[in-house]
């Protein structure tokens, strides 16, 4: 068996982080292919249940990434996302999920370099943490 390769589900907003990921691509920056990106119109529409479902389905980590505070295309969606992440970070660890499996970052449209760096760091961190043991369990 090769090295453990984590699966990271990333909910990224159309206006900032998705564009940054696009920029990283067109700039030919490389980052590990462990991330599965889901483009949302705004991080403010990431319902906690998306995160819970992904973790219960065996994702090793979740990244939610949107515009910097003050830059949200919808004025305040990212602030709402921040409260929801705060909420999830209170709940998930009570059921044994390591808090590091959920990450919220702000990556603006011009920050392709920052996007690649964030993914690299996150993959390294989750590799150290090891797999989400849900994969071995019956939970659905």
């Amino acid at each position: 068996m090769g090295e453990y390769e984590p699966t990271i589900i990333a909910f990224v907003c159309n206006w900032c982080t998705y564009t940054a990921a696009d920029l990283a691509g067109t700039s030919r920056l490389t980052y590990p292919p462990n991330v599965r990106m889901i483009r949302m119109m705004c991080t403010g529409m990431v319902d906690p249940k998306y995160v819970i479902k992904a973790l219960l389905e065996g994702a090793d980590a979740i990244l939610i990434s949107g515009c910097h505070p003050g830059d949200c295309h919808y004025i305040n969606g990212n602030y709402k996302a921040r409260r929801r992440v705060k909420l999830l970070k209170e709940i998930l660890p009570r059921f044994g999920f390591d808090e590091r499996r959920l990450k919220l970052t702000w990556i603006g449209a011009s920050e392709g370099v920052d996007f690649a760096k964030t993914i690299k760091e996150m993959v390294t961190e989750i590799k150290e943490l090891g797999p989400n043991d849900v994969r071995e369990q019956m939970v659905l």
């Binding site: 505070p69 602030y79 409260r83 209170e90 044994g96 999920f97 702000w106």
Partner: protein
């Protein structure tokens, strides 16, 4: 202006005294209607009733140790739009807290209601109550109260008040307009009636009841009861945390769940008209189940039980007022209230919020600030 009055109790019958007071509320208090739990004639059950005829509140029984549903939901139905007159609603402290949450969630209004609360000694589960009440519910209520006051406690045979009530640190409502006090009051003689708001004071004046005084022992009696309950609650938090500390344990804890969603229906603060869990989103393709099963060799059916409860915790735990109706409604005796209150204690503390405490505090997920909780983004604003 008198802030406290008393309701005289004759021949030690609290129910007669309370019924007299309710009648007076309708007759002299300028109330269009009264929402009060009553024994229904067709069957000895206690249900909230909306009364407009003063003569028809004669089986009212807010002392009955049962609440088949959290009546905040009924008050929400009555106040979602102007109802056309003032209504006095007689509620338990947890029902008032639930109603406060609903008002903040725009599911009701305080404009036309007068909240009347009773000190609450706890309630039995619905099924237990039927057995306890036997043929004469009113008599059973007095028997329950008598046992509590005489120090025999709340248990009867193998029945006791629900864990939610044992863990309830709010036996007395601080948010009602009128508080009917029993704790620390000489109820052989009278009940305490205390106005907590301007509207409550106005009403007291209209009713022209004899002036009363808050007895010295009341504060201590409340504190003693609360401290017992807090001790029970904290022990419950500890045990529940331990019983659900990882996903395997959580799965076992919720193992009996059959996705009936009774807990959601019974929950007073779960207010969505259409819950996502009953929409097409969860009408999975038949082949999808096979795919899931093949991935691990087997899956539990029905699926999504843990997912459902975790999602409800995320959606509703900040509004959980701890009434325990979720556990009451569970057909398989899953300790739903225990896990909800345990998680709610963390989520509400995280936002420095207490569900049902005050109309002024905004529900944590309905507001935000430009700069806050920088720890969730690794210190970056």
């Amino acid at each position: 202006m008198a802030k406290t009055a008393k309701i005289d109790v004759k021949e030690q019958n609290l129910l007669t005294a309370l019924r007299g007071f309710f009648k007076a509320l309708l007759e002299d208090g300028d109330m269009e209607a009264l929402l009060v739990p009553q024994h229904l004639p067709m069957k000895n059950v206690v249900m909230p009733t909306l009364v407009t005829d003063p003569e028809k509140s004669n089986t009212a029984d807010p002392l009955a140790p049962v609440f088949p549903m959290n009546a905040a939901k009924m008050v929400s139905r009555l106040t979602r739009r102007p109802v056309g007159g003032r209504i006095a609603v007689v509620l338990r402290p947890c029902e008032i807290k639930a109603f406060i949450e609903l008002v903040k969630l725009k599911q009701g209004s305080m404009d036309e209601v007068i909240l009347v609360s009773m000190d609450c000694y706890g309630t039995y589960g619905n099924v237990d109550y039927t057995r306890f009440a036997g043929d004469d519910g009113a008599d059973a209520s007095l028997r329950f109260y008598e046992n509590v006051v005489s120090g025999k406690g709340t248990a009867w045979e193998d029945i006791d008040i629900s864990p939610a009530c044992k863990a309830c640190e709010h036996p007395v409502s601080e948010s009602a307009d009128l508080q009917i006090g029993m704790l620390g009051v000489d109820t052989k003689d009278h009940l305490l009636l205390k106005a907590m708001t301007g509207a409550g004071e106005d009403l007291l004046e209209k009713l022209g009841l004899p002036e009363g005084e808050e007895p010295e022992g009341r504060k201590k009696a409340i504190e003693d009861l609360v401290s017992d309950r807090v001790a029970y609650r904290d022990k419950m938090f500890e045990e529940t945390s331990e019983a659900t500390s990882d996903l395997n344990k959580l799965t076992a804890y919720l193992g009996n769940c059959v996705n009936c969603y009774n807990c959601r229906v019974a929950c007073p603060v779960c207010y969505c008209k259409e819950c996502v869990f009953v929409t097409d989103v969860f009408d999975h393709e038949p082949s999808q189940y096979l795919k899931w099963a093949k991935r691990k060799g087997l899956i539990k059916m029905p699926t999504d039980t843990v997912f459902y409860h975790m999602t409800r915790l995320a959606h509703m735990s900040t509004a959980c007022i701890g009434c325990g109706q979720c556990s009451n409604a569970c057909p398989n005796d899953i300790p739903v209230m225990e896990i909800f209150r345990t998680i709610a204690s963390y989520t509400q503390r995280a936002f420095d919020y207490e569900a049902g405490r005050s109309l002024e505090e905004e529900p944590p997920l309905s507001v935000f600030k430009e700069s806050e909780y920088s720890e969730v983004t690794g210190g970056k604003d």
